[in-house]
């Protein structure tokens, strides 16, 4: 791949991350979390996308992102209150931005009208009235010192420390028309990464110098002595007074390429500076303005504040700031001024920011192929280790020997390696869940219903291969829940519910599987109607005797669709049967519970990984098979009096007063033709999909083992009743039973013979 393309690929990957940041940030704002950290995160997301898009000349994307960014900047600057309407528009804008990103990536085109409509909506927001003054009263007695709190943060926490947001008291409206000279205080603290990436503070200063008049001073208080210093560590902080007629964003642009690699704050003194005053500033006292502000602030704020602020400032990038050192020649950290907010709050932010920065550094981007290869290799290692152990046992080495003990250690280690490698590929389901709010908004808009999506357990981790295949089924289930489950607002109100329906999406780990639930508080499944449709479509007999659960499960039958008119939303030819099949393809199960008038819940239960499986190793007619442990409820040795014959070759077994079908696995797979005597074998009580139970007859149990799954489809072809294969310690291939399929096959057989009986009778 040509290098530029490779960078572009990375850019789009990062875009996806930024988009999900954006979305979760906006959703947090919707919930009322409008603190500057959240707003800044949202702003940064859009800003980064715009910046990267600019580098690749993705014009439409840049244009839209710019409008969006401008609005967000107003929110950040306090000019625009992020009320519900504003956030709603921004959520829709985020959707369009996502479309733009995808269009740019995949070469598509975004619906121009929609994009423009939202751009216009965003621009309309910009024109709104500023926030009401909050705490400016205290500062009113400082004539000539109205400074505009346009704080720009390039680093978490930094902006908060210096944020004057509460002061955004309509001062901006006093902003003089047209270009006027203003003095900006730029606080620049390069991080190590800035230099490591071959960027240079000097060049940044040179760029700034092109914008206007510079007064630069260095804070060297953190600079250690020569023997103690690390030559590649950044110790200095620059305070730059820039007098220019350029806008803040022009100044900001200078730092575009060091975004994230330095702490940056740009604040404006909101008064036009006359050339005469510049002369004064340019004299021997470069901190004239700062001193004034600090003096003024000192009257408002308790004296220790500046010191604490200095430490908070030092916090994110370096170890605890040394006390103002003997080296401190320049004025102690030239903090523009302490914020009017309580000092404690500012100090509390710093550790968080440091934590955030550390968390960011602690991740790397790895090609998934490499991880997959590693997982494959570890799988081979596990098999190899098992084979080695078996050979050692066969050679008659006593269990207490050093070799055997060494092998035990090896097994332990191998298992640990395997777990760790699997953990690399594990990802929180957040990436899937985050796509859903948009879906809900769109479907809600199309159906005219009011929907609230509640998500829980976003941090639940599952293998990436599972995650990738979760989106479609969950998307479809949520569409269904809104389209078919929830009622229209007026119907809900008539039924005594709130007009807004709730769709709940949750994920949780339960006994080695991940369980995902999609539930709604709608009308529940209309069983008589479902039944009628199934009869009309010839899926069931008119007089079939079905339990409520059976009726509910009819919606999973191929060719079933309850919407009387095939709607645009759920009826895209994809029914619940497809959802069920894709879940089963993942080794999962899907179940439904529904209560009329109260809603339905779809429950997906999926394996955490598709790579390994805890299995019960059993023998059937000299063949070794593996039954997934998760499906097995118990194993027992049938007694003759418990087994009853039903028909010529069907048996049931009584287990605690319940008759359960007995399935002879050997006969089912064609290993033998004469049925096994139930009393000579072992029965595994298993639970298939939908809770259907059956007892699987096998000859003997060999033991429990974790096995590495090798796809049969990929290496051979799909086999009825078999899910996959594995390689055992002795090097032989063992087939892994598809329990659901075996149970269902037996039911199908029974249905066929019933039908036969029915026709005969």
């Amino acid at each position: 791949m040509d290098p530029l393309e490779a960078i572009k690929v990375t850019f789009f990957q990062e875009c996806e991350e930024q988009l999900s940041e954006l979305e979760s940030g906006l959703l947090a704002m919707e919930q009322g979390e409008t603190d500057s950290e959240t707003v800044n995160a949202v702003f940064r997301a859009v800003h980064s996308i715009k910046g990267g898009a600019g580098a690749f000349s993705l014009e439409p994307l840049v244009r839209f992102a710019h409008v969006f960014e401008t609005t967000l900047d107003d929110v950040r600057g306090g000019k625009l209150a992020p009320d519900n309407n504003v956030v709603k528009v921004m959520l829709r804008a985020a959707d369009v931005l996502a479309d733009h990103v995808r269009a740019a990536r995949d070469g598509g085109v975004v619906e121009e009208a929609r994009s423009q409509a939202l751009a216009a909506a965003l621009e309309a927001l910009n024109g709104e009235a500023p926030l009401a003054p909050v705490v400016s009263a205290e500062l009113d007695d400082m004539p000539g010192l109205e400074f505009t709190p346009l704080t720009v943060s390039e680093d978490d926490g930094f902006g908060d420390d210096f944020g004057f947001t509460p002061l955004a008291a309509g001062i901006i409206s006093l902003e003089p028309e047209g270009p006027a000279l203003r003095t900006w205080t730029v606080l620049l603290r390069p991080k190590n990464a800035l230099y490591a990436k071959a960027n240079e503070t000097g060049l940044l200063l040179r760029e700034l110098k092109r914008l206007g008049d510079l007064q630069v001073s260095i804070d060297r208080s953190e600079l250690p002595g020569l023997a103690e210093m690390d030559a590649e560590h950044a110790y200095l902080t620059w305070t730059i007074l820039l007098t220019t007629d350029r806008s803040q964003s022009d100044i900001q642009d200078v730092f575009e390429f060091v975004d994230g690699d330095c702490d940056l704050s740009i604040t404006a003194e909101d008064f036009a500076v006359s050339p005469a005053e510049i002369g004064v500033l340019g004299g021997d006292e470069p901190f004239d303005v700062m001193a004034l502000i600090q003096q003024a602030q000192a009257e408002v704020q308790a004296a220790p504040a500046p010191v604490i602020m200095a430490q908070a400032f030092a916090g994110p990038a370096s170890p605890p700031a040394p006390a103002p050192a003997p080296l401190a020649a320049a004025p102690a950290v030239s903090v523009s001024s302490p914020p009017p907010s309580p000092v404690a709050a500012a100090a509390a932010v710093a550790p968080d920011a440091a934590h955030g920065a550390a968390a960011q550094q602690a991740t790397i981007r790895v090609d998934l192929d490499r991880v997959d290869r590693l997982i494959d290799l570890v799988g081979e290692l596990v098999i190899n280790q098992a084979m080695l152990a078996q050979r050692v046992t066969e050679s008659g080495v006593p269990r207490s020997s050093n070799i055997a003990m060494g092998l035990d250690d090896l097994e332990h280690l191998t298992r640990e390696i395997q777990d760790s490698v699997m953990a690399i590929r594990a990802q929180p389901v957040k990436s899937v869940f985050q796509r859903m709010p948009r879906l809900v908004r769109e479907v809600a808009a199309m159906t005219g219903k009011q929907v609230r999506l509640v998500t829980e357990g976003e941090g639940t981790e599952v293998d990436k291969t599972v995650i990738e295949r979760l989106t479609d089924p969950i998307t479809h289930m949520i569409r269904n829940a809104i389209d078919h489950g929830l009622e229209r607002p007026e119907v809900r109100v008539a039924a005594g519910k709130g007009p807004e329906g709730t769709v709940r999406l949750s994920a949780v780990h339960r006994s080695g599987r991940i369980v995902i639930e999609v539930s709604d508080d709608g009308k529940g499944i209309d069983r008589p109607r479902v039944r009628q449709i199934a009869i009309d479509k010839g899926l069931i007999e008119v007089d079939s005797n079905l339990s409520d659960e059976d009726v509910d499960n009819l919606i999973f039958m191929p060719g079933f669709s309850t919407a009387s008119s095939v709607s645009d939303i759920s009826g895209r030819g994809v029914g619940m049967d497809v959802v069920k099949r894709s879940i089963q393809g993942l080794g999962g199960r899907i179940a439904i519970t529904s209560r009329p008038g109260q809603g339905s819940t779809f429950t997906l239960s999926l394996p955490l990984t598709l790579a390994v499986l805890d299995g019960m190793v059993v023998s059937v007619c000299d063949h070794t098979l593996v039954a997934p442990l998760t499906a097995i409820i118990e194993s027992l040795q049938p007694k003759a009096q418990d087994v009853r014959a039903i028909g010529p070759d069907a048996y049931v077994i009584a287990i605690r007063d319940t008759y359960t079908p007995l399935i002879d696995v050997g006969a089912m797979l064609g290993y033998r033709t004469t049925p096994l005597d139930p009393t000579k074998g072992v029965a595994l009580l298993v639970e298939g999909e939908g809770g259907a139970r059956a007892a699987l007859m096998v000859d003997a149990i060999q033991g429990q083992r974790q096995v590495v799954i090798k796809s049969l489809e990929a290496n051979y072809r799909q086999v009825e009743g078999i899910a996959a294969a594995t390689i055992l310690g002795d090097g032989r291939v063992a087939l892994i039973l598809d329990v659901d399929n075996v149970v269902a096959a037996r039911r199908r057989e029974k249905a066929r013979s019933d039908a036969k009986l029915a026709t005969v009778g």
């Binding site: 390069p190 230099y195 490591a196 071959a198 240079e200 503070t201 000097g202 200063l205 040179r206 110098k209 510079l214 007064q215 630069v216 001073s217 260095i218 060297r220 600079l223 250690p224 002595g225 020569l226 023997a227 210093m229 030559a231 590649e232 950044a234 110790y235 200095l236 620059w238 730059i240 003997p326 080296l327 020649a329």
Partner: protein, 96 residues
């Protein structure tokens, strides 16, 4: 303080970029506790990391109470110092 005439001499290289910072630091350290005359006549480029080394060296020499002087600064060096706002270093420059 000792006269600069008897001082050790350190010739700064032309390009003081990020790669030069660590060698420069070692060079200074090897000359520690000796009066030092830093010749900046060849400097064409001065980066932030080398600036740090120079500033730290100057402060360390001052703390050791040993003389530290920068002589015959090139125009590029002087311009860089003023751009960086490194007034302390400028004050170490020996005129003439």
């Amino acid at each position: 303080m000792t006269e600069s005439a008897s001082a050790s001499r350190l010739q700064l290289i032309e390009n003081l970029d990020l790669k030069a910072a660590a060698p420069l630091q070692s060079e200074f350290l090897s000359l520690r506790h000796m009066p030092l005359d830093v010749d900046a006549s060849n400097v064409q480029r001065l980066g932030g990391l080398c600036l740090q080394v120079l500033m730290s060296a100057q402060a360390t020499w001052a703390a050791d109470a040993v003389s530290f002087a920068i002589s015959s600064p090139s125009p590029a060096f002087q311009e860089a110092l003023s751009l960086f706002g490194a007034e302390d270093l400028q004050s170490s420059i020996q005129q003439g």
